[in-house]
């Protein structure tokens, strides 16, 4: 299983801080597209992805147990 974390406007859209999903074998892009469609997530082209707390490319393949986070454009500072 994989823990999928959402932040900022994505958390509001999904209505949960995280989901538990089996995403192993999928690419980051596939998971993103799937969740984007299911939850009607806005502005996903601007959203980065982190796998195990490090930025990941769209073609990275997710393994069982990876923690995935969708990172909207940041606004700290």
């Amino acid at each position: 299983m994989n823990k999928i974390l959402f932040f900022a406007h994505l958390r509001d859209a999904v209505g949960e801080e995280f989901l538990s999903v089996d995403a192993s074998g999928k690419t980051v892009a596939e998971l993103k597209a799937e969740l984007s469609a299911k939850y009607n997530l806005p502005k996903m082209d601007t959203v980065m992805t982190a796998v195990n707390e490090e930025f990941a490319a769209n073609d990275e393949v997710i393994r069982d147990g990876d923690e995935i986070a969708f990172i909207p454009p940041v606004s700290g500072g």
Binding site: L5, F7, A8, H9, D12, V28, A29, K32, K43, D45, T46, V47, M48, T49, A50, E53, E54, F55, A56, A57, N58, D59, A69, I71, P72, P73, V74, S75, G76, G77
Partner: protein, 154 residues
């Protein structure tokens, strides 16, 4: 702990004290505060949210970049999360270096990098509503799914 996310108000002096070193000739401190007016729009308060574990890692990365780029530098950064009112301190960056010019440059580099790669978000609350802020104009897209090298190394 040179890099922290804090739910409590930041002790500015404590951040500065972390970078005191005998080799230093300068310490610069950046204090980011909550502004009331942005383009004429009045902010009531802000909520900052972080992906804390990754945010700390990315602050550490920024510190390492600075220590490689400016020899003899020492960096400490604390970013606040939770509800902040106008004038509250959102972030404190302290940098010490052997010479003053480097302390200014390295500190500026740190805040610009925070705005690029550290997973922290602010929600603005105005009189007439609220919204999560991305980069201010929502003009940044990441077609490959992560920041480009040029975003990361400018």
């Amino acid at each position: 702990m040179m890099y922290q996310i804090s739910k409590e108000p930041i002790d500015i002096q404590a951040v500065i004290d972390k970078v005191v070193q005998r080799e230093a000739g300068a310490i610069t401190t950046f204090i980011g505060t909550v502004r009331e007016l942005t383009k004429g729009k009045k902010t009531l308060f802000l909520i900052y949210e972080a992906y804390e574990a990754m945010a700390v890692k990315k602050l550490e990365q920024i510190g390492q970049e600075i220590e490689q780029r400016w020899e003899g530098s020492c960096v400490a950064i604390t970013h606040r999360v939770g509800r902040l009112d106008i004038t509250d301190v959102a972030v404190v960056i302290a940098v010490s270096t052997p010479h003053r010019a480097d302390a200014y440059d390295a500190n500026r580099y740190a805040i610009e990098r925070i705005k690029e790669i550290v997973p922290i978000w602010k929600k603005e609350h105005w009189e007439e509503g609220e919204a999560w802020m991305g980069n201010q104009l929502e003009t940044v897209a990441y077609p490959s799914g992560k920041p480009e090298e040029s975003d990361l190394n400018e």
